[in-house]
Amino acid sequence: MAKLNKDSLKTLSFITYFVILFVFWFILSGYLKSLLLFFGLVSVLFVFWMSYRAKALEEDSLPLKIILRLPFYWIWLFKEIFKSGVTTTALIWNGKYSPQLISVKASQNNRTGIANYANAITLTPGTVTIEIDKKTFLVHALSKKLSEDLQTDDMNKVITDLDK
């Protein structure tokens, strides 16, 4: 993507957000009559105005930057969830768990990225983010192998790259 200046990036992000909201409305309703589509447009505009007024569209949370990478990221995330889910299931059945606390460093440089990383850690079964202190997470892992997987830093890198 070409380097855009701040204002045009913001405008494009607003448009993207608007389109996402409208597609979401359409998926949930499924109506194609023009009157109902108009009502949908009005409600989408209302939600857009509310999120603008609540300052939910600040610099950190503009959707444009990551929207193309997001589907690939979700596929990757599902693969990770499946892998550690199988490990956790095996640990539950054979009883060889050894819970431990570790600290993990995050290298993302905005709030959305850090929240994203913490969520991804919690979402993969077997690891839970307990506390966030600036850029260090306190993580509870169910076994040594799971905590070592986390300390290889793969997940951190993928989520940092998501935001470039």
């Binding site: 998926i27 949930l28 499924g30 979700w74 995330l77 599902f78 969830i81 499946f82 889910g85 956790t88 299931t89 539950i92 059945w93 009883g95 768990y97 050894s98 819970p99 431990q100 606390l101 913490a118 969520n119 991804a120 919690t122 979402l123 993969t124 079964p125 077997g126 690891t127 839970v128 983010t129 307990i130 506390e131 306190l138 509870h140 169910l142």
Partner: protein, 104 residues
């Protein structure tokens, strides 16, 4: 004939999802402390519900309904870590220490 294949695939996926939910429930009872039990609950949230929704999508065929079904795991992706983190943080702040297997 192809109808039967679709039914078979969704049945297998449903069975896998049920197995993960069973394991998660077993973990909820078996594991030693609050923090470990959150892992078991997370297993139900992600893999259990994920496989069951996948089976339902395959069973119902591709339509607007399957897009709606896809929204369920999408919402779970955002909400389930928040609840897990909230429980863990509260347990941590009220002074619970994680327990190892052999220490009582």
């Amino acid at each position: 004939m192809s109808y039967n294949y679709i039914e078979l695939i969704s049945l297998v996926l449903l069975a896998i999802g049920c197995f993960f939910i069973l394991s998660g429930s077993l973990g909820l009872i078996k594991l030693p402390d609050v923090f470990s039990r959150i892992h078991a609950a997370g297993l139900i949230d992600t893999l259990g519900s994920g496989f069951i929704v996948l089976a339902l999508i395959i069973y119902s065929g591709f339509s607007l309904l399957s897009l709606k079904l896809l929204l369920i795991p999408l919402f779970l992706i955002f909400t389930s870590p928040v609840t897990g983190h909230a429980i863990a943080l509260f347990a941590h702040e009220s002074g619970y220490k994680p327990r190892g297997k052999n220490k009582k």
